[in-house]
Amino acid sequence: MAPTKEGLSPMCGIVGLHLRDPGLYPQLGRLMVSMLDGVAERGPDSAGVAVYGDTRRVPEGHAAVSVLLPPDADTGGLDAVVTRAGDTTVVAAPTGLDELVARVTTAFPTALVVGTGHDLAVYKGTGHPGALAATYDLAGASGWQALAHTRMATESAVTPEGCHPFSVGPDQCLVHNGSFSNHATIRRELEHAGVRFDSENDSEVGARYVASRLAQGEDLEKALLALREVFDGFYTLLVTSAEGFAVVRDPIACKPAIVAETDAWVAMASEFRGLTGLPGIESARLYEPEPGRVYAWQR
């Protein structure tokens, strides 16, 4: 997917939810459905979702690989917990993560892996976000953190591969509203350092950059502070990892973002409609992230 230059029009939606109150874990999926619905109008073409801690899909002690497979792919030989959800298949097994990735990519050499980790399931597909939530059985998901992106394609084809989030490191996800203008330069530098890319997408460069910083031992906040210094362009980013949840906007901050916090949760959305279904939203602390400032929450 080429950079999507959406200007100031309300295109593409981001939502994310980080639960502080474990009592809400069983409701994570149901809450995400309402958030996704709130930003469906911003991106009716396709939607991607990432869920952390949904033991239906990724049982305790399992590694998980999310992969785009054709509907007729035979997953019987994988010897794993396999969940088919439209274009996405989540494969989980009580093995090492590298071993499971190797098993999946050996069985399906041309398939695109869209997420890996010990806690993470990533779903991608095309169609209306409401219909995709049903395909993913999002309402039935439990967990402690999730994020989603709805896409209104402006410059490239609507495909599952073009969906956010970009998950390029273990248990890491990035969703991006906007476009990076110097991504080609940063891509070359990362490629020189040995980083491999799946697509020509500018947002993938952001995800690979963050992953490379996290791999060097930085936390989300430090990685996004570094990103802010290096990347030029329009962006509101929501980045998640096994540790937490972070938001950053470019210094001009054309792309919208609103954060809501209560004692029970932290949520971020492109606009308030994405937050209206959250418990206690009436008394939540609501604010817009300031331009160029990194906001991070640890688990």
């Binding site: 309300p10 606009e271 308030f272 609501l286 817009e288 300031e290 331009p291």
Partner: protein
């Protein structure tokens, strides 16, 4: 035109559509409206063209009370991008915070924001009066052409960048001023209009605490000595 009813008409957006609400407000049967459960909907109470009163209970999305021409609209909550954008006349009040581009391109009327405004408040304002009880974000009053803006808190970087003839009053701190925006002397006529604006907004502050900012007029006048550059 038939006389408007004096009873308040209540519209619940949990069950009704914004389109139906706005159609009613454009051809009103009453003077007073109350809107419930806006839930962040866009374009709530946009396009009012007469002196009706609308109270919106809850947070609204983009372009609330946009193009207002004479209406008295109060949003009891927060507002998203572009509240009261291109207002012509009337009054729009927001009790909470507003997102970016509040009062963008507005030609007249009064916009009162009880909380704070984020970036680009009053961008390209063309005659509106904007009074903000809290602070405004970066690049506020960008290319402001006419009207007055009063900020009781602080203003972010780039205030008044490329400003024409609007007058800006800020009580707190101001980040880096925008191109061609300078601090100016506060004279009696300015203290007087500032007091009027604060009173209209229902805010009480000592006018002596405000500083005035406006255009240095270096940017939009063509200097003949620069002719050689063209």
């Amino acid at each position: 035109m038939a006389a408007l009813g004096t009873e308040t008409i209540t519209v619940d957006l949990a069950s009704g559509s914004v389109r139906a609400l706005n159609a009613e407000l454009h051809d009103p049967s009453a003077k007073l409206y109350e809107v419930r459960n806006p839930a962040g909907a866009h374009a709530v109470a946009a396009g009012i063209d007469r002196g009706i009163t609308v109270d919106v209970r809850g947070h609204v999305g983009y372009y609330a009370a946009g193009m207002n021409d004479g209406g008295i609209v109060t949003i009891h909550g927060n507002a998203g991008t572009g509240v009261a954008e291109n207002m012509m006349s009337g009054t729009v009040r927001v009790t909470g915070d507003v997102s970016q581009s509040a009062g963008a391109t507005a030609h007249g009327g009064l916009l009162v924001i009880g909380g704070s405004a984020s970036m680009r408040c009053g961008i390209s304002m063309k005659g509106v009066d904007i009074v903000v009880g809290g602070s405004v974000g970066p690049m506020s009053a960008f290319m402001a052409q006419a009207g007055r803006m009063v900020v009781c808190g602080d203003a972010g970087d780039g205030l008044g960048d490329s400003i024409y003839e609007a007058r800006l009053y800020v009580r707190g701190t101001v980040g880096a001023l925008g191109a061609d925006c300078v601090e100016k002397e506060v004279r009696d006529e300015h203290r007087s209009e500032l007091a009027e604006l604060l009173a209209a907004a229902g805010l009480e502050h000592d006018v002596a605490q405000f500083r005035r900012y406006g255009s240095a007029r270096r940017l939009y006048h063509f200097h003949s000595e620069q002719a050689g550059a063209y």
